[in-house]
């Protein structure tokens, strides 16, 4: 896999100093997920207020055993979703998953509301690593459902 220098930098920054990492209490849901391709795993906790689509995500905490992509991805995700509603998180998931699976390297930069997730654009050529990037999103969906 090849990352452009700029994206590599962003990913390394999250990897070296992950945001919101650790498992915190209290929490409303905890999910453990394996990445079947590599056997890595993620434990994700969510604290939320309210129910259903409108639930507000108050905290996301996690412990991850995985590659730099998976670690950076959960760090970026925590940045993006804390303070948002479950519905907004779901929309972000859908949007990022679609962009990752699109495989159109030419299709310019990712929209700015995706924040540092834009750095994962290069991953979209690499099916195995897409799972690394989406592991945390899948866990979040499960934790919110």
């Amino acid at each position: 896999m090849r990352l452009t220098a700029e994206h590599q930098e962003i990913i390394l920054a999250h990897y070296r100093a992950p945001h919101h990492s650790g498992l915190r209490e209290p929490y409303d849901a905890e999910v453990q997920r394996f990445n079947p391709t590599c056997g890595d795993e993620l434990t994700l906790r969510v604290r939320r207020k309210g129910e259903g689509e409108q639930a507000a995500i108050e905290d996301v905490s996690y412990q991850v055993q995985g590659c730099s992509i998976s670690q950076a991805s959960v760090s970026v995700m925590a940045d993006l979703v804390i303070g948002r509603t479950a519905r907004e998180a779901e929309e972000l998931h859908t949007e990022i998953a679609a962009l990752l699976r699109e495989r159109a390297p030419e299709s310019g930069a990712w929209p700015s509301h995706l924040g540092d997730a834009a750095a994962f654009r290069d991953v979209s050529h690499h099916p195995a690593r897409i799972k690394c990037a989406l592991l945390c999103w899948a866990a979040l969906r499960q934790a919110l459902s």
Binding site: R2, L12, Y15, R16, S21, G22, C38, C67
Partner: protein
């Protein structure tokens, strides 16, 4: 003899492998160190398949016209050449789609023995009976036996692995007991490179009347192997790991056993008489080859066997030993690199797996890939072994006849670069053995 005298010249070999001349990424030379997963194929193999498709393609064992006869002849000739390569009789060679199917074939035949009459008693499993494997098995030689146990109520037991990555034979007599019905074990570990000692295991199995199955996926491609000499009852290997096409593998079964073993896949070409209510089955090997088989792939595998033979298996083994020795030396010398398994070439093949302290294997491979170096990362389908060794995953470099000493330098350089980029030297949380606890 003369084959042994000359050492192998990988540059000459590489000329036969078109894919090795491509570049990857931004024009890097391809350094293919993933032959343990699948090997590349020489033009001789590709041409054999193509020629078959363009001249003699037909359904085998089913037609009476000239093409069908030529195809049948080519298929059976392939069987004969492959049998000779592994020292067995052609009727002992069953073509499967891969080694995994071969192992499943034996496992299902054993559960089918329950409803197959007295002739198959040898294969029957009752609750309380035991199957023995080892802790270093590939999933292909573990999960089918777990499932067989689940179907029959038998119990799975296993031989452990020492810290050095050797089979722990100290408890051999405790693990293999008169309750053992079958012992399935790898000839050579796909992770550690460890070559397991066949004689003591076969001897102990014989003592208690257990069958033996050798997973020879990682030995047959790399060394001269004679299944009769080894005295195993069954053995499996895959064509794609030995210069042959994908989609073809081999199950070897001792003749007297295949004769009485119940069928697995059923359908055309494996029957004797079929009525609406019941069927009887053909003699082996046909009994175990239901449906139109992978003919052109068998023809391709025979070409691979001819290629390997013409190079000389002993020369290939010796060449790989050279590479392994160099790789072990170079990698051990890197601070923070830990080799899994034997660190000398004694009883060891050419798969070299390692972890880089503080760097996830996938991050190592990402850097290597960016430099054109293709290695495998993950648990290599040997998850329990990785658990035993206390690492979730590893990086594996595996060598074959087309690799050269020059392939080791970019491997080492990539590891150093990965350490610089992702390593423990960088700021960030504590890291060990590729595992990152973010708390």
């Amino acid at each position: 003899m003369s084959a042994m005298a000359r050492t192998l010249d990988p540059r000459q070999i590489r000329a036969d492998f078109p894919i090795l001349h491509r570049t990857v990424g931004g024009g890097e030379r391809l350094v293919y160190l993933d032959s343990g997963a699948t090997s590349q194929k020489p033009v001789q193999v590709l041409d054999a398949e193509r020629t078959f498709a363009e001249t003699s393609n037909a359904a085998v064992h089913r037609g009476a016209h000239q093409l069908a006869e030529e195809a049948t002849e080519a298929y059976e000739q392939a069987r004969g050449q492959i049998a000779a390569f592994i020292g067995v009789h052609p009727a002992e060679v069953v073509f499967t789609k891969n080694a995994t199917e071969g192992i499943n074939l034996v496992a299902y035949a054993m559960s089918n023995a329950a409803t197959s009459g007295d002739a198959a008693a040898r294969f029957r499993l009752d609750p309380g009976d035991e199957i023995v494997v080892t802790e270093m098995e590939h999933h292909a030689n573990l999960v089918p036996w777990q499932e067989l146990c689940r179907r029959t109520g038998a119990t799975l037991r296993w031989l452990g692995v020492t810290d050095e990555g050797r089979l722990d034979l100290s408890r051999l007599d405790e693990v293999i007991t008169p309750r053992t019905r079958l012992v399935a074990f790898a000839h050579q570990s796909n992770v550690l490179g460890t070559i397991n000692p066949v004689p003591p295991i076969v001897a102990r199995a014989a003592e208690v009347g257990a069958l033996t199955l050798l997973d020879a996926c990682q030995s047959v491609p790399h060394a001269e192997v004679d299944f009769h000499a080894h005295g195993v009852d069954f053995a499996v290997f895959s064509g794609h790991k030995m210069l042959g096409p994908s989609g073809v593998g081999v199950l070897y079964g001792r003749r007297e056993l295949l004769e009485v073993m119940p069928p697995f896949l059923t359908g055309g070409s494996m029957i004797e008489v079929v009525t609406m209510t019941e069927s009887t089955f053909a003699a082996p090997p046909q009994r175990f080859e239901a449906g139109v088989p992978m003919v052109s792939q068998a023809v391709g595998l025979a070409a691979a066997v001819r290629y390997l033979t013409s190079v000389g298996m002993e020369r290939i083994t010796a060449h790989e030993r050279l590479l392994t020795e160099a790789a072990l030396g170079t990698l051990s010398a890197i601070d923070g690199v830990r080799i899994l398994g034997p660190t000398t070439t004694a009883d060891r093949g050419s798969a070299v797996s390692f972890v880089v302290d503080g760097v996830h294997p996938h991050d190592v491979s990402q850097v290597l890939d960016a430099h054109g170096v293709a290695v495998r990362v993950g648990h290599h389908c040997a998850w329990p072994l990785h658990r035993r060794l206390g690492v979730p995953a590893s990086v594996r470099a595996s060598f074959y006849l087309y690799n050269e000493l020059a392939d080791i330098e970019p491997l080492a350089a990539g590891i150093l670069e990965a350490q610089a980029l992702f390593g423990a030297t960088a700021p960030g949380p504590e890291r060990s053995g590729g595992t990152v606890a973010c708390a």
